[in-house]
Symmetry: C2
Subunit: 146 residues, 2 copies
């Protein structure tokens, strides 16, 4: 098995050595042993770091990430908690989709003020709703519904 210096891990993940030391300090990753003073990492750490950066992209704190996958990528949490996390991510995906759609609309819409553009308002207003957007409403939606 080949072991990796912190510099190599850094180069292959794009995460700076200082950040990697910090991750080790807080128990998010671990080095197997030292070669002199130098930390030696298993190549598994590359996958773990990928998970960490994905988690960060999802807006989770390092602490939450540590909870999802222990230091060896093994989950500490019970099934249902993990599924709730997954649901949380699904919610976030909904939000991101709405934001993306809104941005694209803003890019192309000719209306002088977006606040008066019904498409814009609808995009933003529906963004938080769970599940399918309900097309049938008893009355029109207002900003005051937020």
């Amino acid at each position: 098995m080949k072991f990796l210096d912190i510099g190599e891990v850094s180069a292959r993940t794009g995460v700076k050595p200082s950040a990697l030391r910090y991750y080790e300090e807080i128990g998010l990753i671990e080095s197997l042993f030292r070669h002199g003073l130098r930390r030696q990492f298993s190549s598994d750490v590359l996958l773990q770091i990928k998970l960490i950066t994905m988690g960060q992209a999802a807006g989770f704190s390092l602490e939450e990430i540590a909870g999802m996958f222990g230091r060896d990528g093994r989950a500490d949490l019970p099934r249902d908690v993990l599924h709730r996390k997954a649901d949380e991510i699904d919610d976030k995906i909904q939000q991101l989709s709405a934001l993306r759609d809104t941005l694209r609309h803003v890019a192309d819409c000719k209306a002088p003020s977006h606040m008066e553009c019904p498409t814009f308002r609808r995009l933003v207003e529906f963004s938080g709703k769970r599940g399918r957007v309900r097309l049938k409403r008893k009355r029109p939606a207002f900003a005051s519904d937020i």
Copy 2:
């Protein structure tokens, strides 16, 4: 037209008054006038704040958000920049999807160590691949398309 106290804005958006004052301080939102000392907001601010929180969920800084939609929800940026932002969000959605799938897998997989589970490795490794299927859309996409 009805004007809103900071407390009402807070109650209806879930954003604390201190945060709203901070947003105003940095020019992200604005109050129309004061009633005594009290800020009075137009109801449009509710929509703006929704955009702000969506942007935050997407991992954008307040500064970036300010750039996307000026203080009245009008974009300062040229079309192509907005579309690039939208693409950025699409990338993030891919990452989130991968993370979600990984979490669900971890929740259900019986393997003793995830590091040795090929499904797990594939899920994580695949997540970064470029050149995903890119759907061409002729009309703006809606949240309900997901």
